[in-house]
Subunit: 360 residues, 2 copies
Amino acid sequence: MSADAAHARKLRIVQAAHSKPGRFRDAHITMAHGAGGSSTQTLIEGLLLPTLQGERLAELADAGTMALAGGTLAISTDSFVVKPIRFPGGSIGELAVNGTVNDLAVCGARACALTLSMILEEGLDAVELRAEVTAVAASAERAEVEVISGDTKVVERGHADGMYICTTGVGLVDARARLSTAGLTPGDHVLVSGPVGSHGMAIMLARGQFSIEAPIESDTAPLWPAVDALLDAAGPDVHCMRDATRGGVASALNELARASLVGVVIHETDVPVEAAVSAAAELLGIDPLYVANEGRLLAFVAPTSAGAALAALRAVPGCERATDIGEVVAEPEGMVLVDPGFGGRRVLDMLAGDPLPRIC
Amino acid sequence: MSADAAHARKLRIVQAAHSKPGRFRDAHITMAHGAGGSSTQTLIEGLLLPTLQGERLAELADAGTMALAGGTLAISTDSFVVKPIRFPGGSIGELAVNGTVNDLAVCGARACALTLSMILEEGLDAVELRAEVTAVAASAERAEVEVISGDTKVVERGHADGMYICTTGVGLVDARARLSTAGLTPGDHVLVSGPVGSHGMAIMLARGQFSIEAPIESDTAPLWPAVDALLDAAGPDVHCMRDATRGGVASALNELARASLVGVVIHETDVPVEAAVSAAAELLGIDPLYVANEGRLLAFVAPTSAGAALAALRAVPGCERATDIGEVVAEPEGMVLVDPGFGGRRVLDMLAGDPLPRIC
């Protein structure tokens, strides 16, 4: 790293000595901002670098670099096309950071570097762009991850909706983690880290297609603190974790039941749902188990450690309403059943169709 | 890695034992393919996994993993919005792999893992999607990199152009590399790895806005073999490399001259340009130095090693026409000058505006 450090130092000196980069003063995004010429430079040096502030990012090389000890690297990528881009409780920039660091977290990896690639629509208001770059920076700081490389493209008016963002995260798998999508074992308890369905419902209401007004905010949040607490409390007894995003808890459970060749039984009355979400879902005829979350995880924990894991989870800020909602069973293989609390069981299928498009 | 290996084994057994995943039979992309439910699963298991074939990808976890010895990790991300998505000499899938592995290559890193995130337009023909996933797989194989994680989103008809692709690459910086964007040193020779401007011109003609027919093919190609040869021949005497993509050779030189606080002089008559590209550029009144390349690099090499570096570069297939096109000078700081070959020098500015939008 000494050569890199020397380069970084040199660059800082160069930057200080050089005429200051142009500030980003344009009111709107134009095609020229995506052309790789002087307008692109102004966007990068006048807005992106000062807002994101990564020292490695400031090198303006084609790739970001970081020193790393050996280990198992986890890498995850996600594009975000949420509509509208701002909604109660968050925005696309925040979602883009949390969504990707959460995919790493549920694989047992704490994100250490993030890349940010934006597809901007010609005509995008600079105020909106600045707000989202700021949201990315704030969320990255909260998640303790550095944005080390980026890219910006511009497409003509009408060929995107303001902006689409793709983030990719890199982290090292924690030594405590023994996780696998095929790891669900009969007897495992199913924990959920908090009330479900808030994110998807917040987006749905934010679109204003339904005349429902309800105080529902997205649950978008970084999940590493929850994962950290679970691994501390139960280590290898945590067999699998998954964040229940698109398709909601129902689809995540189905995927995992299938990958592990086990069944899962969920006790419906135990599933935490915010009262407003529950009410809106009932009005709209939607099961909250199918509604997307952006800051909720499912954890499958061996019975001997489930109590300790749940207690640890509840001690994490934001996870006070974590609940034990069901268990893994040997049969029926690859299926999820719901116990409604008054006898009988119904099959909880994977989401079919798309009742709630573009929630992330 | 033994736990991971066990999981992978287990998964293969699970997959073998389980009813085979649904084949992808849909004729067009629908919103449901982006919803995270059963249609998304069919797209992933029926098309993406069988085509991309990564063993790590097959785990279907939220993140891909790979074992890694310590070192300096390089990470690069790029979105691709090229229009049209297929063009003479390549397509968006090929571009998305080469563009990202090349950004790593010019930082001295050989790509070892790639992520693939696609934003698909509702109504996209499944044949087109299959062609691009196949192009990604073939290009990744050619570049010897594995796709280890991915994501797919769908936006409504008209909100994208067929597909946008974001790829992120991860690699370890080669021990031979001592590269920096601030590394240009007076006296350095400027090498270019082949004829310039072919990619951008191929895209421009493929759009059919001009009634010019010319046998011009994109130069898209992975650059690691060229980088490997340069590092072998000149090691630390290679001070900087850059692939001349958006904004062309002119913009890349300007960025680097500015970052290094040096001047660069280019001998115009030495710059290799395909005859057809040169003719089309003249008809359109465009300087090929501003036209994008997707398989060409610039290398700045200390004078004592420049000859050996050029010879090594020319021995790489596809780089037979590599040329020494200029040199780094102490002044004027941060500027690029062109010597037209008949006396006098003109300033070669960074690209302003965007005469050729969406070439990558």
